[in-house]
Symmetry: D2
Subunit: 306 residues, 4 copies
């Protein structure tokens, strides 16, 4: 079904979608629809919902189900939909995975259980137990910033022999890690290696990554698609120029506030300024307040983006 539209390997730009919210427990469904049309219209090659940028960890299970249902319905197989199932509980992950399958999503994404750190053999055994129970292909998600135990390169290599695992989203921002994994996967041409940091999109695609999961593609999908395509076809001057634009956007939009949450807040606030969706953020975070919103707005105007 849904599976049929998932390329092997998956390539291109797959935005980690923010979750538009009206309040702590209500989806901004209309905003979500607008956002979906915005990024699909920008040419993205897939969508990743319920990831870190999607505030999955802050949402309760009802809200997560609504996000999956609405996204799949609105996208209607135009691009593959990947659904994050990163829970600390095995059975909760399974429940979301089943929901995703039922709604017609195309793949799942899983970070290691992120509360109590597991050893690498424990992680591998966990995948061996979980993956056969999933009814959709799975991408591993390496994200040391939020989930302490990482999938180390050897574990990634072994995991890729488990039927059903089809790729890795690497958000470690560690290119040494990326190259080690890439070397180990040289004999697995169908495995998709996706870069999670937009600062590293250009170079990783130049060096052979299949695409990127870039938060900024919520805002400016065409820019990221163009950068991906330039790098993929080896157009170095254009790739460098678009990389510089990505760097500039990051410096202007992601560092308005303090704390690590500033990046997601910046994206949501910009989307709100663009009239696409609400910028409410679930606890423990809070959307930019007036001063930060005004500062961000002024920057966007100066960049000619508003």
């Amino acid at each position: 079904m849904g599976k049929s539209i998932l390329p092997s390997p998956l390539t291109g730009i797959i935005p980690p979608l923010v979750t538009p919210l009206l309040d702590r427990s209500s989806l901004d469904a209309v905003g979500l629809d607008r956002l979906l049309e915005h990024v699909i219209g920008g040419g993205v090659h897939g969508l990743f919902i319920l990831g870190t940028t999607g505030e999955a960890s802050s949402l309760d299970s009802d809200l997560k189900r609504q996000v999956i249902t609405r996204t799949c319905a609105t996208v209607a197989d135009r691009v593959p939909v990947l659904v994050g199932i990163s829970e600390t509980s095995f059975t909760e992950s399974l429940k979301i995975a089943n929901k995703a399958h039922e709604c017609g999503a195309h793949a799942l994404v899983l970070a290691p259980p992120y509360y109590f750190p597991a050893g690498q053999p424990e992680l591998l055994e966990y995948l061996e137990n979980l993956v056969p129970m999933l009814r959709l292909p799975l991408f591993l998600y390496n994200m040391p910033f939020t989930s302490k135990p990482v999938f180390e390169p050897d574990t990634v290599r072994k995991a890729m022999d488990i039927p059903g695992i089809v790729g890795l989203k690497d958000s470690s921002s560690n290119m040494i890690y990326f190259h080690k994994v890439q070397s180990l996967l040289a004999d697995k041409p169908g495995v998709s290696l996706l870069m999670g940091s937009e600062t590293l999109l250009a170079e990783s695609v130049l060096m052979g990554a299949h695409g990127g999961v870039c938060g900024g593609a919520n805002l400016f999908p065409k820019l990221y698609v163009a950068l991906y395509e330039a790098a993929a076809r080896g157009d170095l001057p254009l790739a460098r120029e678009l990389h510089r634009q990505v760097m500039r956007l990051g410096a202007e939009i992601y560092e308005v506030g303090h704390y690590a949450s500033s990046g997601i807040k910046g994206i949501k606030c910009t989307l709100s300024c663009m009239g696409i969706c609400n910028d409410f953020m679930a606890e423990p975070f809070h959307r930019f307040r007036e001063a930060e919103r005004n500062m961000l707005k002024a920057r966007l105007v100066q960049l000619g983006l508003l």
Copy 2:
């Protein structure tokens, strides 16, 4: 109600209860009852369920509800029951907190949302929003090993002015942190400062902590109660001697396997060897296999504990 039996400050030994399981989604209810009688019979001053040792993060929400219901029913107000509500989602924490209140538990315990790290002002605002919605007193839970953002000393001090917050369980194993918090709370005699590391129980109580949340008290409650009491009344020679016994138990029981999970596995396996409850562990972990179980058994026999 339940609230009435919670002393201010709470003092003594409050074991972080393991969660006896039959399998991934079934409570070992009979084992749980035996465990509760074992520790209450050993003289503990309270119980903490659904903490790190209780594998809360690995359990789905149904199982957590069963643990709360059964524990409260079996304990029947003989000692205060503290319930962990550490979820990454605000509304999920609230749901468990309401369940705990409804079942007659006496207090709640909360670590910072542990997926995406919040800044200190964000954490404080989060507490200011959450605590007024809770119907039971709350202990903060500082646990850097599993939840990246900690409650820094200044945040703890400010939080203690929020009505409803009554204590801190410090599992940082960082005595500098402990002393800083203790200094800042000098004017708050009703606030309970509990030590989460059993290796540091003796010295922290000698220096003024109110008690300890010791994993080993699942196994040998009388030893930890005796150590607490010796330290609390300033019996230094006895406190040192019992501290040495605690160190020896830790070296023999908690380091049988590899990986951080070895400690909880060691406790569950020992409880199983003692005939108290099942040692099943929820994913991503797995109980000790035959070789480790036999090694642990041999050690327990040699220590005269089996």
Copy 3:
């Protein structure tokens, strides 16, 4: 010789002496003499020169030689003098060790070579090669904050079988580490276990440490000696009260400036305010400037210390 006055184990308060300087390459020899009389007059049980607090890493080899010569001459065997030989180069450590022996110092102190991190077996082999070439007893120095590779507990235990190693100064501020080492050294009653963090002096001596290497003892030697003695004889109420005074001094004196160097700057500035010695600091640091000096002075006056 000198060796004869070194107790086994060494106990009590051994201040890590600051190095009074006139400028980047000149010793404030008169200030050093005054400082030595100040601390010896305060009852300290030994002296540690050329440690972290002594800015050893910022001094060139000529200055280090002058510090050793002058200190040994002024102290004249009244208390044991311990000399830091923590260099990244084996032969440089050896040269300072020889100088210390020649001047009549009583023991040496060595952190792991702190530039390129060695593995534990490499560290042990290094000690096996170095120690037989030393003509004075050696204390190991565990200081993760400045030297990445630590002496892990098992390495400490093995090292204590090398003739010539007589103790450990633990500045990890990690009481779990301390207790592990203490357990492993239970059969080595002559080995001296010294606490490097003054915040942890009370509890570590209560639990069996032999003494403390406390920066604050440069300033108020009698306070630290009294705290050591109270804890050593088990006078818990007095130990707690003096501990509180130590905490207060730390909060007032060590946190005036920013950056980690604030502690040493605070000690040197206070000594200068007390008329004992110059507060010049070698690069890359700079003594407190006017604003910070005035703030510190005001605090000292308020505490009745000036």
Copy 4:
């Protein structure tokens, strides 16, 4: 003088030279000469002596002087010679810098003082004091693995306004850091930005770095020169292919032993197998012993490199 042959910016491959030793305090001068001819014959664009790979921190000051003297004499201005002056003592750094100038070296390289971590304003002030006293241009050296305080991007930017600072060698292996620095230096075309990790050479040059300081260029200078040149002229297929060769060499040669020292040991052992120089390593390290040497030899034979 020497200065005249230093391009602005410096580009290309600048091997961080190993220091051939006969024993703990004797230079293998003949081996050093052979190594110099080997790398210069391989087309390298400069040399960096007394860096991390050169074991500078393990050598005493006499040995360092010999290394400088011999290298400058043998190289005789054929390529620029950069000399590491990373000492923890200001005056010791100055002494080596003066020696380098006197011997005709062309530039200096400085990491932050690596024992006691300085704050960023402290580091900047340190550079402002030190650089005017140097008689050769200076490269900053960012190396978090060995020197805790890094030169943060803003500090690098400010430092580049101090006359005499001409570049940065970045060994952080952190491409996010690299891109931030590169953005901040967009208006400083004469500043040389050199990559310290050979795994990241291809992509950093593709994205605009000026060259690389690659340990492997001690062994196979032509490979690294070819990779640099391919990346610099945008020949993506060749750059990728040579990158794969570099990855393979790293996996075979740098990971024979345990511990972080394995990389330098692997390079020195390979050089010894190639008949170029002795593989003695200064304490606290020890050259590969028989088993590891044989394993490495077998791998080199299998790769057709011996």
